[in-house]
Amino acid sequence: MKSVIQIKGVRKSFGKNEVLKGVSLDVKTGEVVVILGPSGSGKTTLLRCVNFLENADDGELTIGELSVRFRYAGKKDILTVRRRTAMVFQNYNLFSNKTAAENVMEGLVTARKVPAAEARERAERELAKVGLGGKRDAYPSQLSGGQQQRVAIARAVALNPEVILFDEPTSALDPELVGEVLAVMRAVAREGITMVVVTHEMSFAHDIANHVVFMDDGLVVEEGAPKEIFFHPKEERTKQFLDRIQLKYDYSI
């Protein structure tokens, strides 16, 4: 299968604290990659580096035929990468001065020069798909967290990107709202859209992921098919993490 996005040897330090110590990742077309790991393991930073929201100190990114060294990426490269990817943030980051539909349209009209009428049509279609057809004229402040995140997913999907990066999309949500967002993400995955997901939702990872990556302390400790990672982890650190998470998971039910 073809790779959509490849990252090699990403390094990133904040001051003296080295958060990523040479991480590589290969995401194939149509794959759902779930990145697991304790907090502080660098998984969010990795995602942010891919979208150039953090400037990685070293490493290389390949997306399609475009290959860039993080350190030497110019404005044009960054814009190209961003226009081929989309991101869903932990705290939604919907444009607070725009309605739900306008949020979805913004990237289409301004960045991709899609005619407004066509963009509006696409926005309405995507909002309907996430179950918010009736909320297109609502401002973010009038929506619940779960609804905001669903708009954010519609905003990402509408761009028809080669890959969507999900940065802990459910961790800012009240527990009763997590389900609706995960359901939407499942639907997106079923459409065959390539996804990279940083999450703590084990059941989601287990059901949807094609590939699971376990990170700890700025490194990829172990990766493979979900069955292998969840039921036959090879590394001690993976086992410990899974035990802890599973325990919490059982507990909360």
């Binding site: 979208n51 929201l53 404005k75 980051n93 001065n97 990402a156």
Partner: protein, 229 residues
Amino acid sequence: MGKLFDAALVLEYAPPIFLRFHVTLAIVAASVVGGTLLGLLLTAAQLHRTPGLSLAAAGYISFVRGTPVIIQMFIVYYGLPLALYRVGININRWNKLYFVLIAYALNNAAFMAEIIRSAVLSVPKGQSEAAWSVGLSGFQAFRRIVLPQAFLTALPALGTRLVNTFHDTSLAFTLGILDMLGQAQAIGVRTYHVLEGYVFAALVFVAVSLLLEKGFTRAEAAFGRGVKK
């Protein structure tokens, strides 16, 4: 000597004084337009990484905010011809009003820069990040996402600033500008009745200030519909 205050004279002096209101408006307009443009430049300089540039901008803002506008006006009036004469431009024949317009624009720029800067910084970083993530360029993200939100946050401060600018124009008469106050004084010199003119000018200031305040409250409600968190 006559009466101390003659209400009838307030009405009599009203038309000639109000006829000079356009001078006040011209000064306000220059402060708003010039001040906003220069203020944006100052903000850009202040948020810029070049240390010399941001320091110079900060120094300018501190000076303007730390000195009375009446002094700034006279410094421009006496200093600008001198500075320009050195580079070969002679503006000694300029109308005094031009100096006042420049002085007030320079003054307002510092205040505008402060308002713009804190408003821009108040927009959460995530808004820019989301804009970049959907493929907007840095400038597009600033213009379409950050600036509209910053404008909304800044609206109350902008309203106060506009009223203050309007009040500050009342000092232009000290340079001999024939605005409302200048006219009131001129009438006072002629007729020995100066209080009536002052009172009328005060009434105009009060009325316009109240109107501006009401207008901005309305604007906040209109622009902020649904958007405010």
